[in-house]
Symmetry: C2
């Protein structure tokens, strides 16, 4: 079985080999720029591992794995424009380094590139894979739209928030591992169990992300803490705080959301204090644990040799215990 490191290496190397033309440079340079940093490659790793559960030969899963990674980076590129984010992975975002028009168009080209990769080596299951990919891609757009709609809404309940997270983040992890499973020859029941595994891991992952923005060890985290608080981003902490806080605490929280001029550190401390008084660190950590356990239960139900589940299980532990 392939280890995490082996999966990541395959993805890194094959992504480097993608032929991206030189001209027009304003279209293609941003694509190269987006694909350069060697991140965790969570989604393509899930494709390869999903395949590897059922087949020793993962070669047919490599192009789809790259497609998923390119698609993910397309969403980051366009989301950064919409959110007016200026930094991503410690570098200026595309629309800042170039301009918003170039960001829009090179993002479009990346989405098309994802489809190119998906059909580069058409497998027997191509139609199934394409159907799953299309459905998932559309759901990711829905999730991003809900996320944007939430910006001007202080009355979002947990269910609505989890639905948004499922669409924006979790379904792509779910589809990645299911896609791999289908290519590896899994039957529908096993493929669907892995979809549910990925979906639950995805939700846990995002809740964990919300948590890390507030409570991460800054040195390990690698990005500045409190960005979500400063930008009033609706996170699982904020929406639960808005539902739970009462009286003076509620007024104080709404004030922090309303006020246009504030001291950054003061706002972070003020909001974090409210979260802590509401026990939201512990509550969210428990929610992360619930979704992680649901994911592991799916893996448990998978009908295959137990040793074939080891890498996916270990990968999920790693994601849940990450400090960044």
């Amino acid at each position: 079985m392939l280890t995490l490191q082996e999966c990541q290496e395959i993805i890194h190397n094959r992504l480097k080999e993608i032929k991206i033309p030189e001209s027009p440079s304003n279209l293609y340079d941003p694509i190269r720029y987006m694909l350069e940093p060697e991140g965790k490659r969570i989604r393509p790793v899930l494709v390869l591992m999903g395949c590897n559960v059922f087949s020793e030969d993962i070669s047919q899963a490599i192009y789809p794995a790259m497609a998923v990674e390119v698609f993910h980076n397309f969403t980051l590129l366009h989301d950064d424009i919409m959110d007016q984010s200026v930094m991503r992975r410690n570098r200026p975002t595309v629309h800042v380094k170039w301009n918003p028009n170039i960001g829009i168009l090179s993002g479009d080209a990346m989405l098309i590139k994802a489809y190119e990769l998906l059909v580069a080596e058409p497998a027997a299951s191509l139609v199934k894979i394409l159907g799953l990919f299309n459905k998932t891609a559309m759901e990711v757009c829905e999730g991003q739209q809900f996320d944007m709609d939430f910006e001007c809404n202080t009355n979002i309940n947990l269910k609505e928030y989890l639905n948004m997270v499922e669409l924006k983040t979790a379904v792509l992890l779910a589809a990645s591992v299911k896609m791999g499973a289908i290519i590896g020859g899994a039957d529908e029941a096993n493929a669907q169990l892995l979809y549910e595994f990925g979906r639950n891991i995805g939700i846990a992952f995002q809740l964990q992300d919300d948590l890390l923005d507030v409570y991460a060890d800054t040195l390990l985290f690698g990005k500045i803490r409190g960005n979500d608080i400063v930008s009033n981003k609706k996170t699982v902490l904020l929406i639960q705080a808005l539902q739970m806080a009462q009286g003076r605490m509620k007024r104080e929280l709404l004030n922090w959301l309303k006020t246009g001029t504030f001291d950054r550190e003061e706002k972070i401390k003020g909001v974090t204090d409210i979260y802590s008084q509401l026990n939201l660190k512990e509550i969210t950590a428990s929610q992360v644990k619930v979704y992680h356990e649901r994911a592991l239960a799916m893996l448990n139900q998978l009908r295959c040799e137990p040793e074939r589940k080891v890498e996916l299980s270990a990968f999920s532990e790693l994601l849940m215990n990450r400090k960044k």
Copy 2:
């Protein structure tokens, strides 16, 4: 054989039947809005006619035809954001009626929708169709990037301009009719002849479009004349004028391009006068004719019963003699 009207009706009706969800409304309403107006539907008509040359049964071509129309409208939506166009088909553009973020995301969703339609009824030729569609979609992005790059360049030659037009406009018409041909069972040689037919029609179409902005009968044209002149858009007239004008005339033209404050009608008259002195109406009309004749020559070479070419030939005449 299906007439133009019959083809258009099929497209109109089937587009109305596309299921577009209600929620999130900010994602899906703009898609409905873009697909509402019943335009000429040039590209899907070409898919159906391309198929109909080789097969009486065009049912397998309908979804790909819709895919091409949805793709085309995706490019219009994103181009309007990039060009900051405020009106399209006599209505506010999406990014004006809603906002730019909604324009970006609903455009992304339309591109995904195009792929959904393309694989909705997978034909035997699916992999071939997908390959052609992907290649073409990427070229359309390249064309749009070159067009944007041209904005700040007053030294573009005719060859560079025609290359941009080929990518931005012509290849999609070419791919449309070729896609239809493949689905209809054409062999590679015939399919390629129809590709070249569509490519030449596409170039002629764009040059004609440039011409109509300056010389159309305003009443028939249905949009305000001179928009390209006012916005300094690089058209075949402007780039040839910049290459041909000398001395005082060249200085005058460059002045019109430079000046930020001007009377709209005065600028249109000033630039049109230069075009007329350089005979650019006649020159461009001849260029349109050359490309149209090349297209018809391709149709002529097509190995099939002459009567099966009638509708495509008539459609090309109609496009070339349009007043709007």
